[in-house]
Symmetry: C2
């Protein structure tokens, strides 16, 4: 009989590792739609494959994940709740570090990765209050509300857009701090306007036009940079109807 014994608090009582695994499972489907495999998790978490096997068994026992041996790993409703709670913590903490302590956006991820497991629910809610309940973190990632609702905006990786496409950057992957520093140096930031010009020949970099009006400039971006930048379409969609 399964261990139906998780009384809802969701967060407390789970180890930092359990929290990180659940968060990693969630993160791997936040901007894509394929369930994550064991070895993908291992890479993301920097552990051996065998460690993932062991921990996934534990997550299943805890009622946080579902997993048929040799197949992909998914979260239960309970696991999803825990993941969103952790993501909320992480992103609020990053926002705090930037807004209140003067961190640069490439410095906050690692600090938040540890703090997210340590602060209390009270801390997080008081922090959210002080910060004015922000809706996205310094990298544009949406911050789930306390009740577990999130709105993940529609967006595509810059590298996957066709020439001619225009939009603005609504998210920048914070996976690589060096890349974030590069982007800062190039004055690319959240909400920058972009237009895709096309690739330079023979597998060359992507040429984009960044900025608007008199600050507009052209720039070559490597694959990694183009994949880290997520662009929302400028064309109106259901949330933004044109009125005559």
């Amino acid at each position: 009989m399964p261990p139906m014994n998780r009384n809802s608090p969701a967060l407390s009582s789970d180890s930092a590792s359990v929290q990180d695994y659940v968060k990693a499972i969630y993160a791997s489907t936040e901007w894509r739609d394929q369930p994550v495999t064991s070895s993908q998790l291992a890479v993301r978490l920097g552990v051996a494959n065998s460690s993932v096997s062991g921990m996934v068994r534990k997550l299943v026992d805890l009622g946080l994940a579902v997993h048929e041996p040799y197949s992909a790993i998914e979260l239960t409703a309970e696991g999803h709740r825990l993941a969103l709670a952790m993501v909320r913590r992480h992103r609020l903490l990053e926002t705090f570090l930037v807004q209140e302590l003067g961190y640069a956006w490439d410095e906050v991820h690692d600090e938040a990765e540890l703090l997210e497991h340590t602060v209390s629910d009270t801390f997080i809610e008081r922090l959210a209050n002080k910060l004015g309940h922000p809706e996205r973190d310094p990298h544009g990632d949406p911050i789930p509300a306390a009740d577990g609702t999130v709105d993940v905006p529609e967006a595509n990786q810059l590298g996957r857009l066709d020439p001619g496409h225009t939009g603005h950057i609504i998210r920048i992957s914070d996976a690589n701090p060096d890349l974030l520093r590069f982007l800062s140096a190039e004055r690319i930031s959240l909400d920058s306007r972009v237009e895709v010009m096309g690739h330079r020949p023979f597998g060359g970099p992507l040429v984009v036009r960044i900025g608007s009006a008199e600050h507009l400039r052209e720039l070559d971006l490597g694959d990694e940079a183009a994949a880290a930048l997520w662009v929302a379409n400028d064309t109106p969609h259901e949330n933004c109807l044109l009125r005559t």
Copy 2:
């Protein structure tokens, strides 16, 4: 041959447990002058005696403590440095929670006890900066400077003063949150003026006069409360010379 291999960073690379043990050894002599015993440490840390024996061996191996079997435990210079670094972290974090996040002074200890192990040196120094380099925490405990210097003020427990003594409260032990709430309710806080009246007969509570001028009032304090309040003498001493 002893493991002389600690390269000075002092802090990083020590586990949270090591940090807490070292801090506990330091704390037990901050306001008294007797070295701590194994079983006292066990009580303070809430672990079994055998756990202390094991960890003390490890502290000795790390060069953080000195210990002859069956005798008291003391810190090395290195251990003392680590302890002060941890105490600085703890007290800055408590100050932050009260000043920036609106915590009450009875809520901060447990949160700081965890956070102190998780935040980075960078975090602590940026926090100290934001807070304006406070010299004492919400309970009056002195905050060591980044260079490891501390000034522990001269003070006595209220319960040990003779009748007629006057002074002001410069420190309130934060060991018992319930006591802190009681003191708040009685409007006793840091810097309150006190005058010792004497004990009620037959081992009764201590009678003190609290406050100054028109807010002056008389109060009965139990032993635990009287021991938690530390009073600095009103009489001038070397740091506070009278000028004609």
